[in-house]
């Protein structure tokens, strides 16, 4: 058996080496994508284009606006003169946030009454809008505190609110709230899945389409040997990809890697088993490369979207949450992120590893069974 497997492996590696562009197509897009992900995938909200309209022209209103300008989160792109101008800024997308201070703002404040402050946000991107509104309320709260302390020291003391609770927040594992620390480890699993599934599926379907599968079948090679021979090179390619992106993430993007590389290797092996199993399964469903390609698109994109890579699984409807349970990428992302950022050990991660091993074995077994059938 090993002899035949060896022959099969040699054939696969030869085929890979003869395709001069294959290595190029494997590595260059991978590098470009990792770099692009590292720089482009961000939900951070900085430099929000802001239009301001000050109809009060008082010291207080100018001071409030300077708080916005000094904060760094907001870029004042337009100092408007009329409300209509503000509306146009929002309509054309020139500004995302518009702050309007109506006449009488400082008078209200000085009289100890409640002064309205109008803030309009372009809600098209709800995430940006939500975060920007949070920053606005923080700046306004800070402005109020300073005003209270500076302008009415005596009255503040007299009316000292009996209870004020201060929130001390501590973000663990990623103190700087860097999106990159979240996405780069995620990219490892995602890109590996996309490449390995399509490579595996195409490798088998091409033999079928070109007609060389029949030649192999009349040789003494058994189906299991054929599948192992097909799978092994892609397993090694997958491991190399995981290693390459990890190194890139640590050295180029300075993502901390606090966990155990061995655990990562274990996770990657189970994950690749599942990915190759999925690719083989696809190959038994497709007759032509065209079909394999379409099926690949059909399946890989949902696996990618429904993995928690960018969109929290908790925010999905229940039915889709159940679907994520059969998604090997979901578990691998948990493992990678925990190993990278938290340094979690086997005691915490064993359920995810077990799930991947189970899925991998299941898909592999199913594809071997289906493959046998498709030969009859």
């Amino acid at each position: 058996m090993f002899e035949r497997l060896q022959v099969m492996l040699m054939k696969e590696f030869l085929e890979l080496r003869r395709d001069r562009w294959a290595m190029f197509r494997l590595i260059v897009p991978l590098l470009v994508q990792v770099i692009a992900f590292g720089y482009a995938a961000t939900f951070t909200v900085n430099h929000v284009a802001t239009a301001v309209l000050d109809l009060d022209h008082s010291q207080a209103s100018r001071s409030l606006l300077s708080h916005f300008a000094a904060n760094g989160r907001f870029d004042i792109v337009d100092v408007a003169a009329t409300e209509r101008q503000v509306t146009r800024d929002l309509d054309t997308g020139r500004a995302t946030v518009a702050i309007v201070i109506h006449a009488g703002f400082s008078q209200y404040l000085n009289n100890g009454r409640t002064a309205p402050l109008q803030v309009s946000v372009d809600g098209t991107n709800s995430n940006t809008a939500l975060i920007a509104l949070g920053y606005v309320s923080l700046i306004v709260a800070q402005f109020q505190l300073e005003q209270a302390a500076g302008v009415w020291p005596a009255r503040t003391a007299a009316a000292s609110p009996g209870s004020s609770v201060v929130l001390e927040e501590r973000p663990w594992f990623n103190a700087g709230l860097e999106d990159r620390w979240f996405f780069i480890p995620g990219v490892i699993g995602t890109l590996t899945l996309i490449q390995v599934v399509s490579l595996t599926a195409f490798a088998v379907v091409r033999e079928r389409e070109v007609g060389t599968l029949e030649q192999i079948m009349v040789s003494p090679i058994r189906p299991i040997e054929f599948i192992l021979g097909k799978a092994t090179p892609f397993f090694l390619i997958g491991l190399a990809e995981v290693a390459l992106i990890t190194v890139l993430g640590v050295l180029w993007f300075h993502i901390p890697f606090v966990g155990s590389p061995l655990l990562m290797l274990l996770g990657a092996s189970f994950f690749l088993l599942a990915a190759i199993g999925l690719g083989l399964l696809l190959s038994t469903l497709a007759r032509t490369q065209q079909q394999a390609f379409a099926l690949n698109f059909f399946l890989v994109n949902p696996f990618f979207i429904l993995s928690g890579f960018a969109f929290p699984i908790a925010a999905m409807p229940k039915v889709l949450q159940w679907f994520t349970l059969i998604n090997p990428l979901r578990y691998f992302l948990v493992v990678i992120r925990a190993v990278f950022l938290k340094g979690a050990g086997l005691d915490v991660l064993w359920p995810d590893l077990a799930a991947m091993a189970l899925l991998g074995t299941g898909m592999f077994a199913l594809s071997v069974l289906r493959f046998r059938k498709s030969l009859d």
Binding site: R25, Y39, V119, E169
Partner: protein
């Protein structure tokens, strides 16, 4: 150009599509499945963040504070922790995303000095969720503080003295409910069309090479331009059917508000479909193996479209070189157009810039594709 030859090619291609029902079914079913999965799966609405509570004091005040966290629907109480070590454990296991620790002398300090602090720890692996959760927590604390102060003042018989409060009136435009679905679904339509379009045409020429039918094709009098237009015609029809389905699903099923004109929508959708099919065709002409063409199609569509089109990650937050790269991403223009037509009701005049960009894109791709194909066998 000979119209008869053109239609002959289109007819041949249609027959080929028709006789491969598996691929046709995938091309027509894919948008339905993708719309369902992405429409529901892609959501950034962060609600009911699982929260662990470590209430060291366990007084009336501390319990009220905890109740307020849970009563706001932003947080859901997952576990009550028994000691400080449990926080670390809960964070490691990911059983909750945030923990609130109320120190042992919380209400005493609050009564004596007027200020007391509450500590929250967040699992910041997902920075965006953490950022938004912190905002929610601050909101809960601010409201609680206000109520505590009012109660304190009332207890002393004093009138709560407002020291010049500012009342923040936030107004959200275009997407009033801050529903992330309204923002993402138009983008999802662009993504699905971009993916399907490239998938439809990227193998159409390389398949002829691999199967050996290219020799037959080359020996016919058909010209490169006729071949391209003839091959693209049936796929254009499929692409438009898919587009119509996705857009209807967005408007009627997901109920994204539609404020623009149907005409603008049809025109821009047809234009984008043309660009996408053209890219697939160009790849197919350039790369003779089906595997290579499909790999390049995935690389050149999946990543740029999901990452650089602005459908989830805002382009204006990217570093300048990456922003420059997004100018080359066709989906970027279509995402802008779809969002503006749906949510803002923009007209063709408002959208002149992105529409012009797509026109240029289509012209360039088709020109290059037409020139790339040579009727030679070497």
């Amino acid at each position: 150009m000979n119209v008869r030859r053109l239609f002959a090619i289109a007819f041949k291609e249609t027959l080929q599509i028709w006789r491969d029902p598996r691929s046709l079914a995938i091309a027509l079913l894919m948008p339905a499945m993708q719309m369902g999965l992405l429409g529901y799966g892609v959501s950034l609405d962060i609600k009911r963040v699982p929260l662990c509570v470590y209430d060291e004091e366990n007084s009336q005040t501390s319990r009220e504070l905890v109740r307020r966290f849970v009563a706001s629907h932003w947080f859901a109480a997952a576990h009550v922790l028994a000691d400080e070590r449990a926080i670390r454990d809960a964070m490691d296991r990911g059983s909750c995303i945030g923990t609130v620790t109320i120190p042992v002398n919380f209400s005493r300090v609050l009564g004596a000095t007027g200020t007391a602090s509450v500590q929250t720890v967040f699992d910041a692996t997902d920075a965006n969720t953490t950022n938004i959760s912190i905002g929610y927590a601050q909101g809960v604390i601010a409201r609680t503080t206000g109520d505590f102060a009012a109660r304190w003042a009332a207890a002393r018989g004093a009138r709560a003295q407002p020291a010049g409060q500012i009342d923040l009136e936030p107004r959200v435009w275009f997407n009033e409910g801050l529903d992330s679905r309204n923002f993402i679904i138009p983008g999802v339509v662009a993504v699905i069309l971009g993916l399907i379009g490239a998938q439809l045409t990227s193998l159409t020429i390389s398949r002829e090479w691999e199967r050996g039918t290219m020799e037959q094709l080359v020996s016919t009098p058909v010209t490169a331009l006729e071949l391209m237009i003839g091959k693209l015609m049936p796929y254009f029809a499929i692409g438009l059917i898919d587009a119509a389905f996705c857009l209807c699903a967005a408007a009627f099923w997901f109920q994204v508000p539609f404020r623009g004109s149907i005409g603008t929508l049809i025109l821009t959708t047809a234009l984008f479909t043309l660009v996408v099919l053209g890219i697939g065709y160009l790849l197919s002409v350039r790369i003779r193996s089906q595997l290579g063409a499909s790999q390049m199609a995935v690389t050149l569509t999946m990543m740029p479209i999901t990452l650089l089109s602005g459908y989830t990650f805002p382009i204006d937050q990217m570093p300048a070189p990456i922003q420059a790269m997004t100018l080359l991403v066709h989906a970027r223009y279509f995402v802008t157009i779809l969002r503006a037509v749906f949510l803002k009701g923009s007209t063709i005049v408002d959208l002149a810039v992105p529409i012009l960009a797509l026109v240029l894109y289509a012209a360039a791709i088709i020109w290059i594709a037409a020139r790339s194909f040579r009727k030679r066998l070497d």
